[in-house]
Amino acid sequence: MKKIIASIFVLFVWVNINAQEIKPLKNNIEFTLDEYGNGKVIFSQKLNASQWDNFKRTMGSNQSLLKRELERALPGYFLSDFEYKEDAMERSYSLSFNAYGVSKVNSVGKWVIDLDAKNPDVTKISDNAYMMISESSNGGQLVQTTQKLIFPESASNIKQEKNSFGKAIFTFDMSGSSATGNAMQYGGIGLMVLAVFLGWRKSKET
């Protein structure tokens, strides 16, 4: 997930890099997971006059380039359903797309989403929504990015943990997930083996 956010960040900061602005450039990224582990990403920006002018001269005049650049920046994902909306009067736009398979089920049946960052500053804003605000400088442009991660309604037991490499992950349960099936299958085999063993022991007792 972090990779997606980082790529969007780099892409759009690059778009606006030529427009010098003392106030930070504010980005909003909303990342909504569905019950299948896919992510819907909405990126939005509100620009000042010179930034808007620069944006329209580059990507904003040929929005298919936004799609192309995102696909090239995120080669490890399958992206679809790109949608671009702009409000020229307010000098703002949003780009949304779907990224498939960003959350996976692990061997014990837990859903896992990888933030690919150590010790991120995460704030819980509701039972199923978390927020991260980061500030950085890119080529002298101060950039403030607000990232919101929204879990599906059916998600429960959401926990922020660390993976084996010390990087932050979220684990959660979701109805319909069934990795427990493996344990049941092996349990069934175990019971059959145990039954045969007990029968064999009983036959030896006489």
Binding site: S7, A19, Q20, I22, E35, Y36, G37, N38, S50, N62, L65, R68, R72, A73, P75, G76, Y77, F78, Y100, G101, K104, V105, N106, S107, G109, S137, N138, G139, G140, Q141, L142, G176, S177, S178, A179, G181, N182, M184, Q185, G187, G188, I189, G190, L191, M192, V193, L194, A195, V196, L198, G199, K202, E205
Partner: protein, 540 residues
């Protein structure tokens, strides 16, 4: 019979559970598989293909999306792939379960063996993909073109998606894969240059740009003395699946050395290999239809026209000083075009690309080639580069134009002033600080004259804020205050704090056509005040 009742009950329960889990498991036929594959593999870049971190993972063999379209979970999914003759069956991932409706994406970055670089011709190869699940297996395959190790595709962008010149040369960063400073043959060649042509050098261990330039000239001198000639290689437009590109045959640096001939890009790659083996920061300058090598030393670029070696059959050849002079002239043209935003003028910084994990191929030592290098180097004994070879083209190149009077030269740009002739000039010396368009440094490296252009700023305060922010991004903290105005100039005094120490400075900014511009003077030691007064006295 009664004594077996527990065993029978346990067996029936176990069998029931097993049957239940089997009946509620999805089949492999429920998997919808979507695959995107690369149409071409360039063996010279095999380390890039095998590294998901290289160039942000752009160069994968294939990526695959598995979607469970059935109503039961599919368990124990193990995708694997195989490239017969090159890579044995290799498991990609283990997926515990894919729930109904769920998608899983897997990208394949193949680990080829080092001997893939022995492949010299193209062939069609097959990738076999196997998806093993608890509910059966499924196989897919695709064919791709495996090029020879010398063949280089300039782009992998679909023709429909090509928008600009840069898209047509999208693979340029992969040129770094052909730069082979660790090749034993190139290392030996470099040692021979250091010993026989340069008679010793200290380019990588001193701060003296002249010594770095002497090394650059030494590489030219070696090719010159060897009788190396310029020659072309094949470059043909080709089409592979969705990709259409010019395929250039690039001889490896060891082949250029032992073959004693090279094309402009091949010579640039050879120079980069040798310069890097010598501890310098090699650069390849790319312009429409041509390439030439150079170095970046202390923030300043130097270039040489490697093809000046020419050949008797193509109008003769020039010596090292002529090649350097021409290279620096080309560099001036390059910088002007790049500053105008002409994207056809670009640089390949080999060290930066290696930092992005675009790593060169592994090459083994070769006795025949080593002997060939020895034979070539035997001709260099009487042609060593003179100690006093003219490396001053750089100094005259760095001026802002204008004449010279009594130890001072004139700079004419967003502002005009006179500066000491022996201060070294640099164009755009700091990457990430585009507003700094020119800098002059005192011979002891402690004093600076910096020319800034800040488009979009409407007054001095805005310009200073922008510069301050840019420097903050580069790890430098700036404190300053206004010190009034003088004529058209707004003046500021301040200090920049960085890991190099404190730099007190004075700034003189004025309005320009599209923003603000001006001069900042400063010294780490607090010296050079007399010179600064002289310079400010000529500022206009």
């Amino acid at each position: 019979m009664k004594k077996y009742i527990l065993s029978i009950v346990l067996f029936v329960i176990g069998a029931g559970i097993f049957a239940f889990t089997k009946l509620t498991s999805g089949s492999v036929n429920d998997l919808e598989i979507k695959i995107e594959n690369t149409p071409v593999i360039m063996p010279a870049c095999y380390k890039v293909y095998g590294n998901p971190e290289a160039v942000n993972g752009r160069y994968f063999l294939f990526k695959m999306m598995l979607t469970n379209k059935g109503s039961h979970p599919i368990k124990n999914v193990k995708p694997s792939y195989e490239i017969p003759k090159f890579i044995e069956e290799t498991e990609l991932d283990k997926i515990a379960v894919i729930n109904p409706g769920q998608s899983v994406v897997i990208a394949c970055y193949p680990t080829f063996k080092d001997d893939i670089v022995n492949k010299t011709t193209s062939s069609k190869e097959k990738t076999k993909i196997k998806i093993a699940t608890a509910g059966g297996d499924k196989e897919e395959e695709f064919v791709f073109e495996m090029k020879g190790r010398n063949e280089f595709l300039y782009t992998c962008v679909n023709p429909d998606e090509i928008r600009s010149y840069r898209d047509m040369f999208d693979n340029d960063p992969l040129v770094a894969c052909y730069v082979t400073p660790e090749d034993p043959i190139i290392k030996y060649y470099t040692q021979q240059i250091q010993e026989k042509v340069l008679k010793g050098e200290t380019a990588a261990v001193t701060n003296d740009p002249k010594e770095a330039v002497r090394f650059l000239l030494g590489v030219y001198q070696a090719t010159y003395l060897s009788g190396m000639v310029y020659s072309g290689t094949s470059g043909v437009p080709s089409k592979f699946d969705d990709v259409q590109s010019l395929v250039q045959s690039l001889r490896l640096p060891r082949e250029v050395v032992t073959g004693n001939t090279g094309l402009c890009i091949e010579l640039s790659i050879l120079y980069s290999s040798v310069l890097m083996a010598g501890g310098l920061e090699p650069i390849i300058f790319l312009i429409p239809g041509h390439a030439y090598p150079g170095i970046k030393f202390q923030g300043q670029y130097f270039a040489i026209e490697a093809t000046k070696i020419g050949g008797a059959g193509i109008g003769g050849r020039g010596d090292a000083e002529e090649a350097f002079k021409r290279g620096m002239e080309e560099l001036d043209e390059f910088i002007k075009a790049a500053q105008m935003g002409d994207e056809r003028y670009s640089i390949i910084n080999i060290r930066e690309l290696i930092a992005q994990q675009i790593t060169p191929m592994e090459l083994k030592d070769d006795q025949f080639m080593r002997e060939k290098v020895e034979k070539i180097a035997a001709n260099w004994v009487n042609g060593a580069l003179p100690q006093d070879v003219n490396t001053n083209v750089a100094a005259s190149n760095t001026g802002g134009g204008g004449g010279t009077t009594s130890g001072m030269s004139d700079y004419n740009g967003v502002v005009s002033f006179s500066y000491p002739q022996n201060w070294q000039g640099m164009n755009n010396p700091v990457q990430g600080l585009p507003q700094l368009i020119k800098a002059f440094v005192s011979p002891d490296q402690s004093g600076f004259l910096q020319v800034y252009a800040v488009p979009g700023a409407s007054n001095g305060n805005e310009a200073m804020q922008i510069i301050k922010q840019q420097l903050y991004g580069l790890g430098q903290e700036v404190q300053y205050q206004s010190s009034g105005s003088n004529g058209n100039f707004q003046m500021y005094n301040g200090t920049t704090y960085s890991q190099n120490g404190q730099l007190p400075w004075s700034a003189y900014l004025k309005r320009t056509g599209n923003g603000m511009g001006g001069l900042i003077v400063g010294s780490y030691t607090g010296g050079h005040n007399g010179i600064f007064q002289q310079v400010i006295g000529t500022l206009r």
